[in-house]
């Protein structure tokens, strides 16, 4: 029976090739537009470490300038700065409440002295404490992170990205070898596999969609070498002249994350922060209202405005477009089926049940949907290449290249559900027509 229905459908398509092309084209365009915007939206709103979302918390305290004319972020004056001062970070880091904890800052770094070196190269370096790698599930190709003693020393140990290791050591196991970082000799203890969380959730102050990290060194190397941060640093309060001033200042430049697996641990950590805040406030700091926060990853992405409002608007626009395309298809299908009503009436008179008429038309609709959806997927993939090129300019390269499996599943579901939904009504409506009317009318 199905074969017969499909044969009928093909005949019907051939009768109005222009209309058929219009319907297939409309479905395809609608679906491809949705795929493109959904992928962009998905890539931008994706949580790069979703599996640890309710365990990892960004630690923030609000010790910013109480003057209302000097907010940290003029657009959101109620928010605490996303980074901590050195003093506060040092204190909070002593806490044993979190299972793991990490301090992070960006340092200017130059690598040289490797066998594959052509010229000294500026590398994106994050100075971190040892838990960074285990907290964020950073995958290692060779070696691993460093010990607690390397943190406190600090010892001259360095972890390289796969890309830098490929460039400087030809991809060989370079663990144990040494390299110059900012003209100081560092021992390589680990080489990462490809790892590129997007956005770079653990430090979103600069270039969150930009180039990945090339190197990691122990956090204390910044103070040890008196290197000021290479990323964001925001100050208020007393003038800062020397590096020692800087460490004791109200300048914020350190990200802190804590791994707090239970609600109880979170409460204790919050209490720990709040009591520190109270003591410091008595000593004359923290003049702004109590605003200490532990923020999980997805909220952190939201607070930092990761998903642009443009991509939200475009997503809705794409759905409006898909709806127009589907309405278009429904209208044409309805008209088309109505025109063939005399034939349908004849079929009913000869004993075809309503169900059979419905199925016959559904077969036609399904064929149309299938072709439209397939074409839409292809168009969507092509559109993504175009969008990728558009966004590359904005420094967000690589973000939108992913036509990921979940995205494809979404697109397929979207295509199937939307086109079938569009076709159901005409197929149903045509089955309900009284056969007699159409038999005698012409």
């Amino acid at each position: 029976m199905l074969g017969y229905y499909l044969w009928l459908a093909a005949k019907s398509f051939r009768r109005n090739p222009g209309l058929t092309a219009l319907m297939v084209g409309a479905i395809a365009l609608g679906i491809s537009t949705c795929i493109v915007t959904l992928t962009v939206y998905h890539a931008m709103s994706g949580n790069p470490i979703w599996w640890k979302n309710n365990i990892l918390y960004a630690v923030t305290m609000d010790g910013w300038d109480p003057s209302p004319s000097d907010p940290y972020d003029p657009a959101h004056p109620q928010l605490a700065p996303p980074q901590l001062t050195y003093r506060d970070a040092q204190y909070l880091y002593q806490s044993t409440i979190p299972r793991r904890k990490v301090l992070i800052t960006q340092l200017l770094g130059v690598l040289s002295g490797a066998p594959g070196e052509t010229a000294p190269v500026h590398v994106m370096t994050h100075a971190v404490t040892r838990d960074f790698f285990s907290m964020f599930d950073v995958p290692f190709e060779y070696g691993g992170g460093w010990s607690a003693s390397a943190d406190s020393g600090p010892e001259p140990v360095i972890v390289l990205s796969k890309e830098q290791n490929d460039k400087l050591f030809g991809g060989a196991d370079s663990v144990g070898q040494t390299i110059l970082w900012n003209d100081h000799r560092f021992r390589i203890v680990g080489v990462l596999k490809n790892w590129r969380p997007l956005p770079r959730f653990y430090d979103m102050t600069t270039r969150r969609w930009g180039e990945p990290d090339d190197a990691y060194v122990p956090f204390q190397w910044g103070p040890a070498l008196q290197i000021l941060p290479g990323g964001n640093s925001s100050c208020w309060g007393d003038p800062v002249t020397t590096y020692q001033d800087y460490l004791g200042s109200e300048c914020v430049w350190i990200e802190m994350w804590a791994e707090l697996p239970t609600a109880q641990a979170r409460e204790r950590m919050q209490a720990y922060m709040d009591s520190y805040w109270a003591v410091q406030r008595k000593a004359g700091r923290f003049a702004r209202p109590l605003n200490n926060h532990l923020t999980d990853v997805s909220d952190w992405l939201k607070v930092n405005g990761v998903v642009s409002s443009d991509s939200r608007i475009l997503l809705r626009l794409a759905f409006a477009f898909l709806i127009v395309c589907l309405i278009n298809t429904v209208g044409i299908l309805l008209a088309k089926f109505l025109r063939a009503a005399p034939t349908t009436g004849l079929r009913r008179a000869l004993g075809a049940s309503r169900r059979q008429i419905f199925l016959q038309h559904l077969a036609e609709v399904a064929t149309l949907s299938f072709v439209g959806a397939a074409l839409g997927l292809a168009l969507g993939a092509a559109g993504l290449v175009g969008v990728h090129a558009m966004y590359t300019y904005g420094g967000a390269y690589g973000v939108l290249a992913r036509f990921d499996p979940i995205g494809i599943l979404w697109a397929l579901a979207l295509a199937a559900v939307s086109t079938l939904a569009a076709g159901l009504y005409p197929a149903w409506a045509i089955g309900r027509l009284p056969p007699s009317l159409y038999l005698k009318s012409r």
Binding site: S69, H122, T242, A335, M390
Partner: protein, 402 residues
């Protein structure tokens, strides 16, 4: 022309008419709001920068060896850049206009964080900075070479005198002469305004008004990197930059070059989000209009072909060709009018939602008027060809059986 037969014809395929009207309504809402947003984005892209950014480039460098000396490196780099043929002017700068690199702060018109205040971008530079930026003084004077504070280890060094843009001057001293006034930074250190320039865009950090820039006579570089800004003869920025990048790298090996970019590049980056949004909106709007047109065309064609016999009858009982055309156009006009009516409500709703949820300006009603006109026009145009075809049905068709 009698409207009654048109309406009764319409009512026979109610669902089809409702669907087309709905399509038109959505198309109108999308068209008007998209056009409104695109207009804003183009205005943002076209906003004057006040800079000859086509003929400027920036090089960012940083020392990394123990024997690196910032003052001598900057001096030799400047000497080299200024000696290059085709270079009009070059200066060390503390922030790069149009880029995201640089610093900002708050200035107050009175001591102790009182009086008017303004968020501004800091642009540390030397006495040639004004010429490198192509900035025009409208009052006061430029820095003198002796006033440029040499680089020191002080992380945050106060300067006694600054040059500000018109916008910054106006924000601090509205309706008053700003020249010669003393302003205070967040640490209450006084600075005298010695010059006022025409507006140009400084570093474009989040939340900083782009035209609020203060030039400060000092060498910046405590945070490791230092920036050089270069203005070239027209059309030569890219070529000179490539050469400078190669040469600078070998001339001094105590530092590395992070990047060299033209200001065109930064302008492109700055505009990319607006440009992408505009491209996408225009593309989808065009597609929606095209699909709507094709939908109207397809449905009218279909109506015409299913009603061949009725048309023949109309013609046989005396309707002229013109009457048949107007019958179908009127039928279409009713649908379009219905769609546009619903569409207006939808458009205003979407506009209201956009302004509420995303802080966009309220929809300009001229856009709505234009959108209604455009949709009505193309709606009728799409139905015109099939209506003409209907008119060519000969009266004799009525006498035959289909």
């Amino acid at each position: 022309m009698n409207i009654k037969p048109v309406v009764s014809a319409l009512l026979r395929n109610r669902m089809g008419a409702v669907l087309v009207a709905l399509e038109i309504a959505i198309a109108l809402a999308v068209l008007v709001n998209a056009a409104f947003i695109v207009g804003q984005r183009i205005a943002m892209i076209d906003e004057p920068t006040g800079l000859d950014y086509h003929d400027m480039f920036a090089v960012t460098m940083a020392g990394f060896t123990k024997d690196f000396s910032l003052p001598s490196s900057v001096a030799s780099d400047m000497a080299y850049l200024r000696s290059m043929p085709g270079v009009v002017s070059a200066s060390p700068v503390g922030s790069i206009p149009l880029s995201g690199d640089g610093g900002n702060g708050v200035l107050y018109a009175q001591t102790g964080q009182h009086g008017n205040s303004a968020v501004y971008t800091t642009l540390q530079t030397d006495e040639q900075g004004m010429s490198t930026l192509g900035a025009t003084l409208i009052a006061g004077r430029n820095f003198r070479p002796t006033e440029i504070l040499p680089w020191s280890h002080a992380i945050d060094q106060a300067v006694p005198e600054i040059i500000v843009t018109q916008s910054l001057a106006r924000a601090l001293f509205p309706g008053r002469q700003a020249l010669g006034q003393v302003v205070y930074d967040v640490r209450n250190r006084p600075m005298t305004i010695i010059g006022i320039t025409r507006d140009f865009k400084g570093q474009v950090g989040a939340g900083t008004p782009p035209y609020n820039v203060a030039l400060m006579p000092q060498l910046a570089g405590a945070f490791g990197g230092y920036y050089c800004l270069v203005r070239t003869e027209p059309g030569r920025a890219e070529a000179i930059m490539r050469r400078a990048e190669r040469e600078l790298a070998v001339r001094n090996t105590t530092r590395v070059i992070f990047y060299a970019h033209t200001l065109d590049y930064f302008k492109g980056q700055l505009d990319s989000e607006n440009r992408n949004m505009a491209i996408f909106l225009v593309a989808v709007t065009a597609l929606i209009l095209a699909i709507t047109c094709l939908g109207i065309f397809g449905l009218t064609t279909f109506n015409v072909s299913t009603r061949t016999k009725q048309i023949g009858t109309m013609r046989a009982v005396g309707a002229r060709k013109r009457d048949v055309v107007s019958h179908f156009l009127l039928e279409n006009a009713i649908i379009v009018a219905l769609g546009v009516l619903v569409g207006c409500t939808l458009t205003l709703g979407v506009g209201y939602w956009l302004s509420r949820a995303y802080g966009m300006p309220r929809l300009d009603l001229y856009f709505l008027a234009a959108g209604v006109f455009i949709l009505a026009a193309i709606g009728q145009l799409a139905a015109w060809q099939p209506a003409r075809r209907a008119a060519s049905v000969p009266p004799s068709v009525a006498t035959r059986t289909v």
